[in-house]
């Protein structure tokens, strides 16, 4: 119970810092808004095929925007505390390493997921604004947004947090550059992906959910390699 309270305390602190930091919040909102607007504008097929395109966009962009925002926010949460040495004080507290790590991941994942939901809503609005008929996302996509995307974001943020805590500052710079290249590459590939018909199936959603849970399991196993000594020795 105590560990759970500590996880919530850390998550609450991170969440509050993201929400009250205008610059950070704005950068997340800006990217999420920009990418969803571009995606919504890009859904140009006939009305009959727009439904499939919309589903594809939400399926793909929902996870990707959440991941992108999570990437921006996790840098401010894990890496900044490491750079400033704040994490060292936290490591001396009676909080397990796992609780610190999970608390921060939850604090980052929640606003990332909320922005991902807002992006999805914006995509739906833009597509409907440009359409003569009302087009709504399918049940599979709704389930995807409500269940798969948060699991995927939590797993991805925890993995990014793990790498930021585990690696030294120089290695983190390289990983950050690679991550941002992969993310932009994935975002640039949006058009190709969303135009594929029938991308969103129950199989695809279940597959991504399994992949997210697998990623969570992998992250949890990786946690065994994380130690206070490792974090302290890579602070500077």
């Amino acid at each position: 119970m105590r560990a759970f309270d500590q996880v919530l305390t850390i998550a609450h602190k991170e969440l509050r810092e993201i929400v009250t930091n205008r610059g950070l919040l704005f950068s997340g909102v800006f990217f999420a808004g920009w990418f969803s607007l571009m995606t919504g504008m890009g859904v140009t097929g006939e009305d009959i095929s727009r439904g499939a395109e919309l589903d594809n966009s939400l399926f793909y962009m929902g996870a990707l925007i959440g991941l992108f925002v999570g990437y921006i926010y996790s840098g401010q949460t894990y890496l900044r505390e490491k750079q400033t040495g704040i994490v060292e004080t936290l490591l001396c507290s009676p909080v397990s390493l796992r609780s610190i790590w999970i608390g921060k991941a939850l604090g980052v994942a929640l606003p990332s997921w909320l922005l991902s939901l807002l992006s999805a809503a914006l995509i739906v609005l833009v597509v409907n604004y440009r359409s003569t008929e009302t087009i709504m996302p399918g049940a599979t996509v709704l389930l995807h947004m409500l269940l798969v995307v948060p699991a995927f974001i939590v797993a991805a943020v925890a993995l990014m947090g793990f790498s930021q805590l585990m690696l030294g500052m120089r290695e983190n710079m390289v990983v950050n550059m690679l991550t941002i290249m992969v993310l932009f590459g994935a975002l640039a590939a949006t058009r190709v992906v969303v135009e594929e018909a029938q991308l969103v199936t129950w199989t695809a959603v279940t597959g991504l959910l399994s992949a997210s849970l697998g990623l969570l399991l992998l992250t949890s196993l990786l946690g065994r390699f994380l130690s206070r000594e490792r974090i302290v020795r890579t602070i500077s």
Binding site: D5, T84, G85, I86, C92, S93, P94, V95, E229, V232
Partner: protein
């Protein structure tokens, strides 16, 4: 009761060819003691503290805090408070939020009352709602101190608490620490290279240089010990002092004799002080005063650091 113990502690960060950062450190700190850990930058003070806090594992030897290996159990960490040189505060939080956050993590009951009491104690009650980013270094250090004791720890680890502060802020932090040590039965492990601060606050100190402890004793004993092999004698005039120096040098057993006005200083080299005084009296000299010189902690410190450097 010994609350902190290091037994032949060594810590290396590289391979076998890399010299250890800490080399054979042995310490025993009693409950309620204010222990100063003195040494120049790079001597290994912060590394020692990190090992004692369980943030780093010893390469060799053992460390015990409350009889247990530190860093293994949350219950042990809950009894420790720590203030690193960077204060460990998040600039984006307010003073109250920061204390509340740590109080929650440590499971402090009556958080509100405790936070009010601590903000009052460090003189930041009127800045409770201000962002830490707007604070001066001195204010951050004071808030860091409040944060470090929010859960009423039994041992407080302080790493250079007055580093980077102006003299006024240094004095304020020192007074807070003095009050803390006097009013609460708390064991303090103070890392510092501020000799004055250590001398004023600590009951016992260890001098660390290049990863090894050069001396560990009370400030008084260290100062006396450093001058234990010499005495100073004041005679009734400069001529008498010059004559006394001749008498002492004639003893051959006392080769290091110096004269400064009416004072004569001599190394006693195993002779008893009364024997020296008796020799001077027998020579018909008028002795006004005999003292054993007590060196300042600064002298002791620099002598040890220099000796080690020369070695």
């Amino acid at each position: 009761m010994t609350v902190i113990e290091a037994i032949d502690l060594s810590k290396s960060f590289g391979g076998p060819s890399t010299p250890p950062v800490l080399d054979g450190i042995s310490l025993a700190i009693e409950a309620g003691e204010v222990f100063g850990y003195l040494g120049p930058n790079g001597a290994g003070k912060t590394t020692t503290m990190r090992v004692l806090l369980g943030l780093l594992r010893p390469t060799k030897g053992a460390v015990r805090v409350f009889g247990e290996e530190p860093g293994q159990r949350d219950e042990v960490r809950a009894r420790l408070g720590v203030l690193f040189e960077n204060s460990g505060l998040d600039d984006r939080m307010t003073a109250h939020q920061s204390l509340d956050y740590h109080a929650r993590l440590y499971g402090v009951r009556d958080r509100r009352g405790r936070i009010d009491e601590l903000l009052d104690f460090v003189g930041l009650a009127d800045r409770r709602g201000a962002k830490i980013g707007t604070f001066s270094t001195g204010m951050k250090r004071k808030l860091g101190l409040a944060r470090a004791i929010v859960h009423d720890p039994e041992i407080l680890f302080l790493d250079e608490p007055s580093a980077g502060l102006d003299p006024e802020a240094q004095r304020m932090v020192r007074e807070l620490l003095q009050e803390l040590a006097a009013t609460r039965n708390i064991t303090v492990f103070l890392n510092s290279h501020h000799l004055d601060e250590v001398q004023r606050l600590c009951s016992r100190i260890a001098i660390l240089h290049r990863g090894r402890i050069r001396a560990c004793d009370s400030v008084e004993n260290l100062r006396r010990g450093a001058g234990a092999d010499r005495i100073e004698v004041r005679l009734s005039g400069a001529a008498q002092a010059a004559r006394a120096a001749e008498v002492l040098m004639a003893l051959h057993r006392l080769p290091h004799v110096g004269v400064d006005g009416e004072w004569v200083t001599t190394a006693i080299d195993g002779m008893a002080t009364p024997e020296i005084v008796a020799t001077l009296v027998r020579a018909g000299l008028d002795i006004e005063e005999v003292t054993r010189p007590v060196k300042s902690l600064e002298d002791v410190y620099f002598e040890m650091v220099r000796e080690e450097g020369a070695a």
